[in-house]
Amino acid sequence: MAYQWDFSVVSRNWDALLAGLGNTLLLSTASIATGAVVGMVLAGMRLSGRRLLAWPAVGVIEFFRNTPALVQLFWIFYALPVLIGVSLSSFVAAWIAFSIQSGAFFAEVYRGGIGSIERGQWEAGRAVGMGRVTLMHRIIFPQALRRMIPPMIERSFEVVKTTALAATVAYADLLYEAMSTISKSYRPLEVYSAVAAIYFVVLFGASLAAQSFERVLKRRGA
């Protein structure tokens, strides 16, 4: 191939890319943490047995699981400010969008985990006179948690990948830094390849770590 590779553009802009990676991880962590809480609220509403709580939760869950994350992000970044009269920074918009989106997915993980606990456990708890909350807190949740961990981790990786969309609303994440490096250097091949490699190292490394963590959990008899 006649093309002359020149990766010096990557090393020259390394600091900017690393700062971008830091922002990617910041947005990811914030969205996953908030999403875990949002998911708990949504799952609680859905499992409450009260229609007035369950139906809106189902609506939110289904809507956010069946529309593109990019559309959600654009809605919150461009449309929501029109409605509330306050403009949002790209970080806040992405944080809100990805928290609700991942919350919708987390809610289904919680629901699946709780639903997988045998009925006998509920009956036994009730038989010893436990209230609904105590029963959930002491008996059901600890068992369900172990089953939820693998899909939770998998979902979290999806969130990290989804945060790359924030570059389209100019949040200075890894991808955005890559784009601005390219607009100065005209070296899309080297920069996008390097950025793909950085994402890969982070995500693949994390997934290997998660796998060994899950093996430890299994050995402890989950």
Binding site: N66, T67, W75, L83, L189, F200
Partner: protein, 221 residues
Amino acid sequence: MSYTFDFSDVFSNIDLLLVGVRYTVLLWIVAFAFGMAVGLPLGLARGSSRRLLHLPATAYVEVFRNTPMLVQLLWFYYAFPTLTGWQVPTFVAASAGLCLNTSAYCAETFRAGLQATGRGQYEAGRALGMPETTLLRRIILPQAVSRMLPAFTNRAIELGKMTAIASVVTLPELMYEARIMTSNTYRPLEVFTVVALIYFVTIYPVTLLSYWLEARQRRSA
């Protein structure tokens, strides 16, 4: 809230959005069909005991599953032409990017589904003197496919949502039309609300199908 909604701009230009929907659906179908077609040999290679097949297939699957779709798409659209000197048409670049990504996930589904089919089935086929390809086509795949259906439907849903990313490389699908319409009308609230609803209405039937398939599988299990 003091804001007054005005959907007239959106509805008078609804045909633009509908053209976008056509591209979205076309992209969805093309990328999924090719993704499945590429995924099968990949899944076979991934499950193979031969290193020369197993290692490259594993690398491929892991790379596509551990990098963001948007980065993959930008790579195909901007970086690939630099390497080859061939400027790929937008639709080809977008569907190729989505197809490769989908194929990596489909490969895993195929691999898991084929491995879950009992060894006795393979042995019986071989005992009858069937060549590997006939064995796969006549014995293994028909049994494995019904088990794999829910996973494929879920992949289709994910892909349907991913098509919106093609707007970034200016493919005139639904999301791209929405962005153009927003910059022409200054009505982001109305435009993106309608577009989100269109996506929901387009994608949700597949989700309902996946619920039905999962329920059916639970019953038969």
